[in-house]
């Protein structure tokens, strides 16, 4: 019954942009309850891979199975409805809306599934209370009535995570959640992720920062030039010669 443990199974995924093989036949699986890190040097194809799973890009070839169902090629909104929630490398909160409204917007998927039901009232007491619970989980409840665009980057990231959690996803995908964050904010994020992991959330994480990835992930997949060069626990991956070469090569170039 090893199969049933795999929540996400990606087989032979490819994405070509003209002659550029951004992702060239990657296999990957994410087991229920684990945190899988997708790492690699700049331009390795991490974000392209991530965007295919989320429906932002259509794969050139390959399969993506979520809970046994094929989801490759579905548009992003359909992928969200299948249970994958994501955050963005460059935070995409709804800036001119309040923090509370940002959160409530994520409830529509469950509470107002079609156009006609969208005419219903969203700001009911029950929904607003539930929204506060999600905001409390990321410690920004006090900012509920602030404009999301006025938040600091760290708080925007938290809001984005709260919004993603409000979808009640079966898989949470985080795209470089610590990029641009201060040391303190990174620490806070790692604490928050720890709480989510303890609650059993399955997470896939794209991370450039090896230290953050090592601390958070149960397993890692390393990409370089669009192909998988290693997979395993953080310890296994770190001692892998191909990985060391890939990262050292980048350091030399930089």
């Amino acid at each position: 019954m090893a199969e049933a443990k795999e929540l996400l199974k990606v087989m032979g995924l490819k994405k070509y942009f003209g002659g550029l093989k951004a992702v060239d036949g990657v296999d990957l699986s994410v087991r229920r309850g684990e945190t899988m890190g997708l790492i690699g040097p700049n331009g390795a194809g991490k974000t392209t891979f991530f965007n295919m799973v989320c429906g932002a890009y259509t794969p050139t070839e390959g399969k993506i199975l979520l809970d046994g169902h094929e989801i490759q090629g579905l548009p992003a909104h359909a992928v969200a409805r299948k249970g994958i929630a994501r955050t963005f490398q460059i935070t995409k909160v709804f800036k001119d809306m309040t923090v509370e409204d940002n959160l409530l917007a994520a409830f529509a998927l469950r509470r107002a599934p079609n156009l006609w039901s969208s005419l219903g009232r969203s700001h009911t007491r029950r929904n607003r209370e539930e929204a506060m619970e999600y905001l409390e989980r990321v410690d920004i409840a006090a900012l509920a009535q602030s404009k999301a665009g006025d938040l600091s980057l760290g708080y925007m990231r938290r809001l984005e995570i709260a919004r993603a959690l409000a979808l009640q996803p079966i898989l949470l995908m985080l795209d470089e959640p610590c990029a641009g964050l201060s040391k303190d904010a990174t620490h806070d994020f790692m604490e928050l992720t720890g709480k989510l992991q303890a609650a059993g959330t399955t997470i896939m994480l794209v991370e450039h920062n090896m230290a953050v990835a090592t601390a958070l992930c149960n397993r890692m997949t390393v990409l370089s030039y669009g192909v998988k060069i290693a997979e395993g626990t953080p310890q296994e991956v770190q001692s892998n010669q191909a990985v060391i070469d890939a990262y050292l090569g980048e350091a030399e170039e930089a």
């Binding site: 992003a76 998927l109 509470r111 005419l119 219903g120 700001h123």
Partner: protein
Amino acid sequence: MYEQVIAINVGLAMLLAMSLNIITGFAGQPTLGHAAFYGIGAYTSALLTAKAGWPFLLALPAAGIMAALVGMLLGLFSVRVREDFLAVTTIGINFVVVAIFQYVEFFGASMGLAVPKPEMFGVRFGNTEILGLLIVLNVLVYLFMRHLPHSWLGLALGGVRNDEEAAASLGYNADHYKVFAFTIGTFFAGMTGSVYAHFMGFISSTDFSFPVSIGVLSMAVLGGLGTVSGPLIGAIILTLAPEVFRFVSDYRMLVYGGLLVLMMRFQPQGLVGDDSFLQRIWAAVRGRGKEGKRHG
């Protein structure tokens, strides 16, 4: 009566500004050809009552539905069009619609169309009845606009307006909501056109030309796109201004154009939008009031 006619013009302008606000303010889709849908409603209602003998009571919603159908088509056609291209597309639509009214015999061509005075429940409509109907419609549309920010639709449109990719990540099909916004906004504009046609008793293509669209946009921008009450305030100010100030009436287009330029540069949120100068003055006055109380 002069005052009644002014009040009717204000009522029509408020409906148009609110309907535009759904599309441009809430959904964030620029539209510069709103008068086309106003015209489609007016011509639909005129033809149905004058040529097909429909009662006004049925022609009014039919005008809205006809405008909404065209609006929905425009929405479906333009969901893939980027914002600046959409603005240009809607200008084109305005000119095409006006040209059809102007050149096609069926629509009266350059002669225009005579529209019978409506009757509802045995009452022949004079200006008083038209004004009453406009008040009812304004209240209904206003209630809808007030509901919008606290509805799923309002949140969805907010998502689409801010970031379509992020909205999609929350399960929203942005295209559906854009088309829905177009459909609702043009429906209201079509109904307004019907009232206009029956109020005037005569319509011609120039009543719905591009400058009318710019006028409606100026009203919404002046009051505040995306706000609930802003477009109403803008509609009142810009409809009354030409009556009060002679020069505004003489240089109407200059005033509309100038307002658009100045508002976009200095107060893009409009008179009642967040942190507008009016709001700041209001906050200052209230703050001083409170201070006064504390000391007193």
